[in-house]
Amino acid sequence: MREAVARYVPDGQELLIGGFAFSDPTALAHELIRQQRRRLFVMKTSGGVLVDQLVGAGCVERLLSCHVWNSVGPVAAHCFRRALEQRKPLPIQIEELSYGAFTMSLLAGACDLPFMPATPVQGTGHFTQRTFMPEKFGVVENPFGGGPVCVVPPLKPALGFFHVHRVDPYGNAQLFGPSGEFRYAMAACKKLIVIAEELVDTEVIRERPEATVAPGFIVEAVVIEPWAAHPTDAYGYYYRDLPHHALYGEMTRTEEGFERYVDEWIVATGNHAGFVAKLGEERIAELLVRKDRWWK
């Protein structure tokens, strides 16, 4: 992960980060914080704790998202709130799409279509309130009759990082369970990097080809990082870590508390293996409920 961030993510980079409160690649966010990236343009459908950390650590200049919160409790994403309410530690610019509109925008990007019809949102805040993407919605007359249609432009992020379950040496990446917008989102990225729980032989990939969410020919690079999505869940690998979400929510109520979290859990741990070691064997054992690879 250290090398991937150093090589692909300079300051100011535009990047789409995958995950939807599961398969959120927290390991990537931690490494961006360790390497003190600045002025990033982050796109993420479901912001969650991952985006909250990047905002709190001052890595983000612009954010495109459909929501940002700590969904366990639920409690507020405190750093996100501080940035938008008090401009602390730094002001951020935010632009918002609803989840369905975001999905359709990525689908248009993936298919290289000029636009996609999306959720009707005329008259809502999403439609009228626009910041750095003034053309995020349009309305066209249905050419086949039947009135106005709300449309979204194609979204083609310069770079994407997505968590997957397993990958082979050619980048054939598999994900089990629900997949949200991941397939189209991955295909929309001009450059795609996958972060996998494990590296497997191509023969293992062949056993379940329908689980391949990104064929190797659209993948630029692969990072192998077990527990990369903790504290969110990885279907078939580990559950959502509720106590850790609660700990994060509690510690980040104040800026000082957030700094303590960063020092203890991100900086002092050195890398993701160090972070996992700090979680401890007992917690790891609790979360690893599905020890058997039941999909085989």
Partner: protein, 262 residues
């Protein structure tokens, strides 16, 4: 025989009773998930629940998920698809019969704000944003809004930001702008009772929980809300129903759900 419940507990019963056995539901984050679960345990074991991330849940999961994206929701699922299927092929295309969505701040015309209180660019309180809530309100049929609040702050005359569209400004604005017929909120359930929407898209008190007065309703809403004359009192829970509701609330607490104060 009815037993006595708190208004918060009563809200779960009233909400659950709006759900018909066998229905295909789209269920949003938070209390709607608990309402659907309680309905499944009481009178609606055959409901089929769709979550935005792609999960189809057709039986009681052993563990209550903390959100639709807590993958304990996918345990024993019959389908794990994606958001194009759930939001567009199933919800927008009308294959989902009923939709439940939380409405933390909701106005006279059923517009929901989960984005920002105060000016958008300088918010007094910044809230999480829409997630899929906008789609649920924009596309969902038989849309039921749920709010655990009986505080006036939660019911302004008009919201500062429309995250999820109700009847917008009322008077048919929704239809004029191209939203599908049959969509738009049908009812709101909260600790006071059930509220419905008139032909103009305006919310009114339809049926109330035991002990809730018309004056109390008027004091809770930020506009002169109409209270249906001779408004029916909603039935309370039986001992069995209350036991199930309390079991599930205890379960929720164990799963880190924050409970309202008091």
């Amino acid at each position: 025989m009815e037993v006595s419940a708190t208004r918060f507990e009563q809200m779960f019963l009233t909400g659950a009773r709006c759900i018909k056995d066998g229905a295909v539901l789209f269920v949003g984050f938070h209390w709607p998930m608990l309402i659907a679960r309680i309905a499944r345990r009481l009178h609606a074991p055959n409901i089929v629940i769709v979550y935005e991330n792609g999960i189809v849940e057709d039986r009681l999961t052993p563990i209550l998920p903390t959100s639709p994206c807590d993958l304990t929701a996918a345990e024993q699922a019959t389908t794990c698809a994606g958001s194009l299927e759930t939001l567009f092929m199933w919800l927008a295309a009308g294959r989902v019969e009923m939709t439940l969505v939380e409405a933390a701040i909701v106005d006279r015309y059923g517009n929901i704000n989960t984005t920002a209180v105060g000016p958008y660019l300088q918010p007094k309180v910044r809230l999480p944003g829409s997630g899929g809530g906008t789609e649920l309100s924009s596309l969902g049929r038989d849309l039921l809004l749920v709010s655990a609040s009986a505080n006036q702050r939660s019911y302004p005359a008009s919201v500062d930001y429309i995250t999820s569209p109700g009847y917008l400004g009322g008077g048919g604005e929704r239809e004029r702008l191209g939203y599908k017929p049959g969509t738009g909120p049908k009812a709101l359930v909260n600790p006071l009772g059930i509220f419905r929407f008139d032909d103009n898209g305006e919310m009114y008190a339809a049926e109330l929980h035991a002990g809730v007065s018309a004056d109390e309703v008027r004091a809770t809403f930020g506009w002169p809300i109409k209270v249906q004359p001779g408004c029916k009192v909603l039935p309370g829970p039986t001992a069995h129903e209350l036991t199930i509701i309390r079991e599930e609330l205890a379960h929720a607490k164990k799963r880190y759900y924050l409970m309202p104060e008091g």
